[in-house]
Structures are given as C-alpha cells and as structure tokens.
C-alpha cells in the first residue's frame, strides 16, 4: 500500500502517452527509442540476470491479462456511459441535461483513487459481485464522465446542416442522431477515445489497491515475497511502458488513416 500512496496523477486522467505522427519527426524517433529501448532492456536484464528478472517476467503475465480485462471492460462500459452522458449534455430535455451535467461535475471534482475506493465499497454494500467487476464499474463510472465530454465534442463537431438536412427529410431527432450524426461523430471521437483507452490502461493500476490481481499487484506480490522491490518495479514500469507505447502507435496509425480518408 505504501508504494501506491505515492503514486502521482491520481486525478490526472486526461492525458495518454503522446501519439506519434509522421509529421512530428522528433516524437517519432523518441517513440522508437523508448519502445526498442524498453524491450531491449527487458531482454538484456532477463538474459544476464535471470534471477530475479526472468522470474519476475514469468510471474506477472496473469496480471497483464487482468489489467487488460479491467481496461477493455472499463473502456467499453465507459463508452456507453459516455455516449449517454454526451447526448444528455446536448439534450434540450432539462432533466436529462441536468443529470448528465451534474454527473460530469461531481466526477471531475473527486480524485480517481477516492472514487475507486468509494464505488467499490458502496457497490459491495448493495450487491455481491466479483471484485474484478466492481473494479471495472468503478473505473467506468469515472471515465464515463470524461468520455461524455469527448462524445459531446464529437457530436457538436458535426456541422448543423447535417441535422437540418436529416430533419427536413422527415427524420426525428433520434433517427437523425442514429443514422446521420453519430456515425460521423464516431469517426471524430475515435482518436480521443483511443487516448482515453491509454490513460485508462495506466490508471487501471489503481485497482491494485482493491483485491484485483492486476499487473501492478502481481508485481507487489512478487516483490514482497522476494524483497526485490527495485528489480520488480523496474520490470513493471517497463511492461506498462511497452504496452502504452504500442497502443499509442496503433492509435496514431488509425488517426492517420482517418485523416487520409477525408
């Protein structure tokens, strides 16, 4: 627990790793150096000092799987919450709009770590659900607020002539949203959602304070048994870095494709 308390960026959830794009040469090479360097370092350490490095690497894959489960589960749920929240934020229905805005305000004002504790234990009082699911819900409720803003911006970026054209053809607002606005907005929000995914992946390490055996928690387990704290956290940090860099690259490519299409 002591290690976690020092974790910074508890409420800082907005930023993923910088996305390398071709036009930004400096960042592109920085990405390469970091990615190749991280993999190389891991390989080097486990080859020359298999004890403890190789042992650590063998011990944590279960945790990587859990980290992915939390991240993917939370981003999917957060996307649904975010879409509803985004629609609420632009709705002319005052109740819907008010509820969405209140949700965003409240979530934004509470540190992520506090929310995770709170939702986890609050849920535990109401229903008996697996820890992993609680953790996913806790992350999703928090990220849903940020995703709501992403979706709101995405929807609002579609020229208003699109809604007018759809309505002048006799579509209801809902039909226009579904067939005309949202399909276009999804393209717009794909890169920012990708960024949220990376941010969430990093923040998912916070669930290690719950009884969820994610990457960080597996590392902690190994470290406290073997007393190889420095070595273990070196490996954990490098694995997070490799995963994060990999996805930021993927999102960069995706974004380039979308830009090329337009």
């Amino acid at each position: 627990m002591a290690h976690i308390d020092k974790t910074k960026s508890i409420a800082d959830v907005g930023d993923g790793a910088a996305i390398p794009i071709k036009s930004d040469r400096g960042l592109f090479t920085a990405w390469r150096i970091a990615f190749v360097g991280a993999i190389g370092t891991l390989a080097f350490l486990s080859f020359y000092k298999p004890d403890p490095y190789l042992n650590i690497i063998k011990f944590v894959p279960d945790g990587i799987v859990v980290t992915f489960k939390v991240t993917v589960g939370a981003i999917l749920l957060a996307s649904i919450i975010g879409l509803i929240t985004g629609l609420g934020r632009i709705s002319s229905n005052r109740l819907f709009n008010g509820a969405a805005s209140l949700y965003v305000e409240v979530i934004r004002g509470i540190p992520l770590l506090v929310q995770i504790f709170y939702i986890y234990y609050a849920l535990g009082r109401i229903v008996k659900i697996p820890d992993l699911l609680s953790a996913i819900i806790a992350m999703a409720v928090c990220y849903g607020a940020y995703m709501g803003e992403v979706f709101r911006a995405g929807i609002q970026s579609i020229p208003k002539g699109q809604m007018e054209a759809a309505m002048s053809l006799g579509m209801t607002r809902g039909q226009a949203m579904r067939h005309v606005i949202l399909p276009q907005a999804f393209k717009v929000v794909l890169p920012p959602v990708g960024n949220e995914f990376i941010a969430l992946l990093k923040d998912s390490s916070l669930v290690s304070i719950l009884a969820v055996a994610d990457l960080l928690r597996r590392g902690r387990e190994f470290a406290s048994e073997s007393f190889t704290y420095f070595e273990t956290y070196t490996v954990i940090a490098l694995i997070y870095l490799i995963i994060t860099l990999f996805f930021s690259k993927l999102i960069g490519i995706m974004e380039e494709r979308i830009n090329a299409e337009n």
Partner: protein
C-alpha cells in the same frame, strides 16, 4: 385555370421571427398554391432564409400561423415529421451525408421515414439519379463529387420522398459559375413537371423564366409581390427599384 381554385400548399400569416429584440421577420404573410413557383429575392439579411426555413419549422416562429399542406405547424397535434416528409428542402451548402454513398443518401430517409422496402427505395433512387444525370455516380461518396453534382444529388434526395413542395435556399450560391447551369436545368425540369416550388435565389434569369410570382423582401418584410414581368420592368417599391438597379 384560375389560381384561386387551386389548393393552397403554404399559408403563412403574419409571421414574426425574433432574434433577441431584432425582428428577422416582421408580420410576413405569404400564400403558395399547388403547382405555383415563387421566387423570393431581396438583399442579404432581409429574412429570405428565415422565411423559407419557417415553412418546415427548421426555424421556430414567435407569432403568426403557418399552415402547410393543410397542417398547422404549431398545432400540438400536428406530427412535424409528417409535414417535413412532404416538404423537400435544398440548402446552399448541399448538406449531403458524407459517410453515405450517393445511393445511400437517396435511400436512407425513404427506408427510415417512409418505411419503404430497400428494393423499392433503390429503384426510386436510381430513377432519380438518372433524372438528374448522375447514374454513373451512384456508388461514389459525396466528397468525390463537384459542387454542381452534389447539389443535383441533394435535389434527388429530396425528391425521393415524393414531396408536395420543394424549398430551395440559394441552391447555386456556393457553386462555381460553370456549374450553376446544370443545377438550374434540373430545377427548370422540375418546374415544368408541375412541382410547387419556393426558391430563394439571385439568379434573375431563372426568376424571369420560371417564376409565376416574384416576392421581394426587405428588412424582414415582403415589400413587393407580383409577376416577374411586372417586377423586373416596373416595380412599385423604391427599395425594389434600387435593388434591381444594383443587380441588373
């Protein structure tokens, strides 16, 4: 044929539209009969778009009554989408759906709103594309078309709903000069087929040739209304005279 015997398509009475304290429309009344083609002209900011857009309630009016195809737009019992499917609208900026192919642009509302089968919608779409001379672009995306082509697709998209009246808001103003003709030709064909049309335009040649009636607006009011002949040769209102002397 006596005009008074024809069905009334649009009955606008004493329309007032406010933006804050500014009166964009000031007690405007306008009647459009079935089959009639009216051209609305006037200086920029005179309220032409606002009037046109109030006919399908894209713009909410603050006072007056608007009856379209027998339905009162501000009667709470009126189903607005029912009104809108019968009122086609063509915008200056085309507003095609960029994520859908030309064919899909034409079929979407037929399927979603008119509840036609996909086959029926496709058949209708293809017929209309042929009519506007764009059969070869059926599978293209709007972004790949010229402005003139996009506007012809937009007209076809509206026509696919079998509208009773077509509204055009400066349909050629965003086009390069060499493309204006192809769009006006489609509109003239439509006029010859008897479509009821309300057209905001600066194309005076089109107004002369096609309009049954010219409506001249200034400062949110209709200040002169008459046959193109009368309007272009001998307008009564000084603002109309001044406008014509500037534009011709």
């Amino acid at each position: 044929m006596l005009k008074t015997e024809r069905r009334v398509m649009v009955q606008a009475r004493d329309i007032v539209k406010l933006y804050g304290r500014f009166k964009a429309l000031d007690q405007v009344s306008l009647t459009i009969h079935e089959g009639e083609k009216i051209v609305i002209i006037g200086p920029s900011g005179s309220g032409k778009s606002t009037l046109l857009r109030s006919i399908n309630r894209l713009e909410e009016i603050d006072a007056g009554t608007m009856i379209v195809n027998g339905m009162d737009l501000y009667n709470p019992k009126t189903d607005l989408t029912r009104v809108r499917e019968e009122v086609g609208m063509v915008f200056q900026s085309f507003n095609l759906f960029p994520h859908k192919s030309v064919l899909e642009n034409l079929t979407l509302a037929q399927i979603v709103v008119r509840k036609r089968s996909k086959d029926d919608a496709l058949e209708k779409a293809k017929k209309l594309l042929a009519k506007v001379g764009l059969s070869d672009k059926a599978n293209a995306y709007p972004g790949k078309l010229s402005g003139g082509q996009q506007q012809r697709v937009a007209i076809a998209r509206s026509l696919a709903m079998d509208p009773k009246i077509m509204l055009f808001d400066e349909p050629t103003s965003a086009l390069d000069p060499e493309m204006i003709g192809e769009v006006l030709d489609v509109m003239k064909d439509l006029a010859n087929e008897g479509m009821t049309m309300a057209v905001v335009t600066h194309e005076m040649g089109f107004a002369r040739e096609v309009a049954d009636r010219v409506v001249f607006m200034d400062n949110g009011a209709v200040v002169e209304e008459g046959t193109p002949e009368h309007f272009f040769t001998n307008p009564d209102h000084p603002r109309a005279k001044q406008f014509l002397s500037q534009i011709l």
